[in-house]
């Protein structure tokens, strides 16, 4: 049962002067999917969204929504819902009037407007604020109303432009859950723009990681996390320890790397066939490093002796900084575990599996 393609971008390109902001962007979004555009500011994600919304026209390439070519179609004719970072509620209208705005423009009969407005306010769990003005609401409430205003017109596509960036951490998490729930309940095809990798991983069916106007990788959150296509993707998503190294030998898909920090490790070459002698950047994530007693047997795994430098408590877990050779590696440890009681200067052994090492040729950009 394959769902139909709702949105298609074909080799979309946009330049401002001599600056290429979005280059060769192609993407297909299936009906009901939630796709995030993720990247640092200036990566072109917002420009791409603005082209889909119709606020900007691409220099070349095509944008299709629900089987209709959108190039040249003004934004007020695209039947989209959009939520902005700054809420953008009309300050001179009550909540009910804000939500009804799009319906009035569509000449929906009054009784039906009333019914649909109260239904959508129920959906965002704010039925009691209909007669208030936006400035009488909290930031989180305002954003919920903005979402309601976008959803009530039953848009063919919902665009969310950094909707959580203006909220504090606690509210952001709450609203993130809310958006996920609304997406599941309404099933509306959604594009979510964010610079926050956690939001993207949490909300999306697929993520488009972008940097400097280029698509680095398109994949499910799991693929993006576990099979990063580029060094940029690996470093932008989550924390990782960087170890510049040289390939000592390559055999049977296993690389032996000599880290500049002064130790060797094994890593899979993942079909990249890097020749011996080439300079690479190897990465290991903090949660993939294990601490063991000095001299512990690592078996087939990589291991290196080290010394604890400092321990930072972060709630459910702690980060332990370990000096190994000339490198300093961050290790994530459970707060409840024995390792949380280590103190600076304690000798330890670091152990990690070869398949947890990511090797990149060292020419790509990092985040």
């Amino acid at each position: 049962m394959s769902k139909s393609i709702d949105v298609e971008l074909k080799q979309v390109r946009k330049t401002f002067g001599s600056n290429v902001v979005v280059d060769n962007f192609s993407l297909q979004i299936r009906e009901g999917e939630c796709v995030s555009f993720l990247g640092p500011s200036g990566c072109g994600k917002t420009t791409t969204l603005n082209m889909i919304a119709g606020f900007l026209e691409p220099d070349s390439g095509e944008i299709w929504i629900k089987g209709k070519r959108m190039n040249g179609v003004p934004s007020n004719k695209r039947e989209l819902g959009m939520v902005f970072q700054t809420y953008s509620l009309f300050p001179h209208m009550t909540v009910a009037e804000n939500v009804a705005y799009g319906l009035k423009l569509r000449k929906v009969p009054k009784a039906e407007i009333k019914r649909r407005v109260s239904k959508v306010l129920e959906l965002v769990k704010l039925p009691h604020v209909a007669d208030r003005y936006p400035k009488q609401l909290s930031g989180g409430q305002r954003q919920r109303i903005a979402i309601a205003r976008a959803l009530v017109i039953e848009p063919s596509l919902l665009l969310l432009d950094e909707p959580l960036s203006n909220l504090d951490a606690k509210l952001r998490e709450e609203l993130r859950e809310e958006i996920k729930r609304l997406h599941l309940e309404t099933g509306v095809t959604t594009i979510f723009v964010t610079h926050d990798q956690e939001e993207a991983l949490y909300l999306s069916d697929r993520i488009v990681v972008m940097s400097s106007g280029k698509v680095e990788q398109i994949g499910t959150p799991l693929e993006i996390y576990n099979q990063p296509a580029t060094e940029f993707v690996h470093t932008f998503i989550g924390k990782s320890n960087k170890l510049p190294a040289a390939v000592e030998s390559a055999a049977d898909g296993v690389l032996t790397l000599r880290a500049a920090a002064g130790f060797t490790m094994k890593a899979p070459d993942r079909g990249r066939s890097l020749p011996a002698g080439s300079a690479v950047n190897a990465y290991v994530r903090p949660e993939k490093l294990r601490l063991a007693a000095p001299g512990a047997d690592a078996g087939e795994a990589n291991s290196v002796p080290g010394r604890v430098r400092q321990l930072s408590f972060l709630g459910a877990f702690a980060e332990c900084e370990v000096e190994a050779g000339s490198a300093r590696l961050t290790v994530r440890v459970q707060t409840a575990g024995e390792h949380a009681r280590l103190s600076p200067g304690d000798p330890v052994t670091l152990i990690w599996e070869p398949e947890d090492v990511f090797v990149f040729s060292g020419e790509g950009r990092t985040a």
């Binding site: 119709g54 007020n76 959009m82 700054t86 300050p91 705005y101 423009l105 903005a146 665009l159």
Partner: protein
């Protein structure tokens, strides 16, 4: 004890700081006003009487002039709104540099005396002025249009004099509108016209109110422009007030005219403000 002493000290400091301004206001404004008011209540024999005011309200000549003054001031407000709004919108959408240039351009003419600017209009609008010669030469008209020494001339002159206040007041409230509101309205399906009437216009109400109040009060009390561009045919309240005090030397009647002007301006501005400041307006724009 200490609290009340603190209040006292704050009050004393405030009074000390205000004293110079209060003295100037008292000597140059309040005392003359009181004097004028007493003057307006005197009959020709110096007796206390309401005669001057009764005369103003009974004589159709004065009532006619009051009506004309109000009417032409309203026309001026409308003309300033119609011609000023596009300029203010342009300013609100421009970059800081362009905005600075436009602000300078609309303020620059005011560096020249209003008398000279009005004579400039005489050159442009007169029977042998530029507009009439151009239209006659093009064959559009065969007799010169009467653009001066009538109500139209006064409204043109007042609009030129006061439109800058309207533009600056409107521009200030237009800057304050978050431009993402236009995007939001657009994506919900609003056309440009719809955006203007549903977003721009209602959110610029404070600017419209401030600009209109300013232009209206200034037009009501304008002397030079009505005198020069209306001539003897289009007399307005400030002009006949001046005539009574300086030419016929009927100071009591002149003073009564001045208070009629003050009272009617104040009443109309208050009425207008009350009409605009609905409950919703206060809800949206206060605080």
């Amino acid at each position: 004890m200490t609290a009340s002493r603190k209040v006292w000290r704050a009050l004393r400091n405030a009074l000390l700081l205000l004293a110079p301004a209060l003295v100037v206001l008292l000597v140059a404004f309040i005392i003359p006003m009181l004097y004028m008011f007493l003057l307006s209540l005197q009959d020709p024999n110096g007796q206390l009487s309401l005669g001057n005011y009764l005369r103003l309200f009974r004589d159709p000549y004065y009532l006619g002039i009051l009506w004309r003054t109000v009417k032409l001031s309203l026309y001026t407000v409308l003309a300033c709104l119609v011609f000023g709004y596009p300029v203010a919108m342009f300013m609100a959408r421009s970059s800081g540099r362009v905005r600075g240039i436009v602000t300078f351009l609309i303020i620059a003419p005011h560096l020249i005396s209003v008398v000279i600017r009005n004579f400039g209009w005489v050159v442009i609008l007169g029977e042998k002025g530029w507009i009439n010669s151009l239209l006659m030469n093009l064959g559009v008209i065969d007799r010169p249009l009467k653009l001066l020494y009538n109500e139209l001339g006064v409204v043109i002159g007042l609009t030129d004099a006061y439109i800058v206040y309207m533009v600056l007041a409107l521009a200030t409230s237009l800057y304050a509108i978050d431009t993402s509101l236009y995007k939001a309205a657009g994506i919900l399906g609003a056309s440009s016209v719809r955006k203007f009437f549903s977003i721009t216009l209602p959110l610029s109400l404070p600017g419209i109110l401030a600009g209109s109040t300013l232009v209206f009060s200034l037009s009501m009390s304008a002397y030079v422009t009505p005198a020069l561009m209306g001539g003897t045919a289009v007399k307005m309240l400030p002009v006949i007030t001046y005539e009574n005090i300086m030419i016929t030397l009927n100071w009591p009647l002149g003073a009564a005219l001045a208070f009629l002007l003050l009272g009617s301006t104040y009443a109309l501005v208050t009425l207008f403000t009350k009409l605009v400041e609905t409950r919703r307006y206060k809800e949206v724009f206060s605080g």
